[in-house]
């Protein structure tokens, strides 16, 4: 799948399985100019120690609301909904994923890096 980006900023994409569990998270950061573009190619499957898993990308956050993001040429919510249907997600999982809701990854073994999105958001709110 191609993730096409126009404009600067950081976005967080979580890749969930059909049960709605986040198996992988990617944080993509680009900067340079408001008109810059970027492209990231990812596989929609993951080989885990428990077996192969089909995954669904969920665009969970963007630091810049003006940044445009497309998944294979479609709006992320639309692509997520279609991919959820393809891999057999439950309706509730598909609905939440389509509105950008997916749980943060919880590393079940070492190593880890705790997400600080909430802390950063609070700091920025305080200084603006």
């Amino acid at each position: 799948m191609q993730i096409a980006i126009r404009g600067e900023g950081e976005l967080v994409i979580r890749f969930i399985d059909k049960k709605g569990a986040t198996l992988m998270q990617e944080r993509l950061t680009v900067s340079g100019s408001p008109t810059m573009t970027a492209l990231r190619v990812v596989e929609l499957s993951l080989r885990t120690a428990k077996g192969d898993a089909a995954i669904v990308p969920v665009l969970c956050s963007q630091s810049n609301p003006d940044q445009q993001v497309l998944f294979d040429g479609d709006a992320p919510a639309k692509f997520t909904q279609r991919r959820c249907k393809e891999i057999g997600c439950a309706a509730k999982v598909a609905a939440e994923a389509s509105r950008g809701a997916a749980p943060p990854p919880v590393p079940e073994s070492h190593p880890s890096l705790t997400g600080d999105d909430a802390v950063i958001a609070k700091l920025l709110k305080a200084v603006r």
Binding site: T22, M24, R27, L28, T37, A38, R40, L46, A49, P111
Partner: protein, 142 residues
């Protein structure tokens, strides 16, 4: 027109919830349109941070040793409108100015990192960030 001092940066941070047997490759590019004037690249660099643990999902199994690069692979492509002229490809790390490159209309910064696979019951626990940046100037030239 010439755009003066320019920058491109791209970074990919991956976090995995559980152990995996295949660590996917990283491939990402960032692009900026230029005005076809004279480009001098001041710096290209790539960065990588990774923590990794090779383990086994069963007892009494030695998954072996593993080595992976400390560095991401970064390069900058300067592309002209002339399809018969090959792109100029500069790789990182470079911290001195390049010779002037004329006529580029696109700057493409690419960052890559290796994928790897282990045989079950071996498994990988990892988190990594790879990134790349380039600083360059476009001036009126030739």
């Amino acid at each position: 027109m010439a755009q003066g001092s320019l920058m491109l940066q791209i970074g990919v941070e991956q976090t995995f919830a559980g152990t995996i047997t295949n660590l996917p490759e990283v491939w990402a590019v960032a692009l900026h349109s230029l005005d076809g004037q004279r480009t001098v690249v001041r710096e290209i660099a790539g960065e990588k941070s990774q923590a990794m643990w090779l383990m086994a999902t069963v007892n009494n199994y030695e998954p072996g040793d593993m080595s992976i690069s400390d560095h991401a692979l970064s390069d900058l492509w300067l592309v002209t409108n002339n399809a018969r002229k090959p792109p100029t490809i500069l790789y990182a790390p470079s911290h001195v100015s390049s010779p002037p490159i004329d006529g580029a209309v696109v700057a493409l910064l690419r960052v890559r990192d290796f994928g790897m696979t282990v045989n079950s019951p071996g498994a990988i626990a990892t988190i990594r960030r790879v990134s790349s940046h380039a600083y360059f100037d476009e001036t009126v030239g030739f």
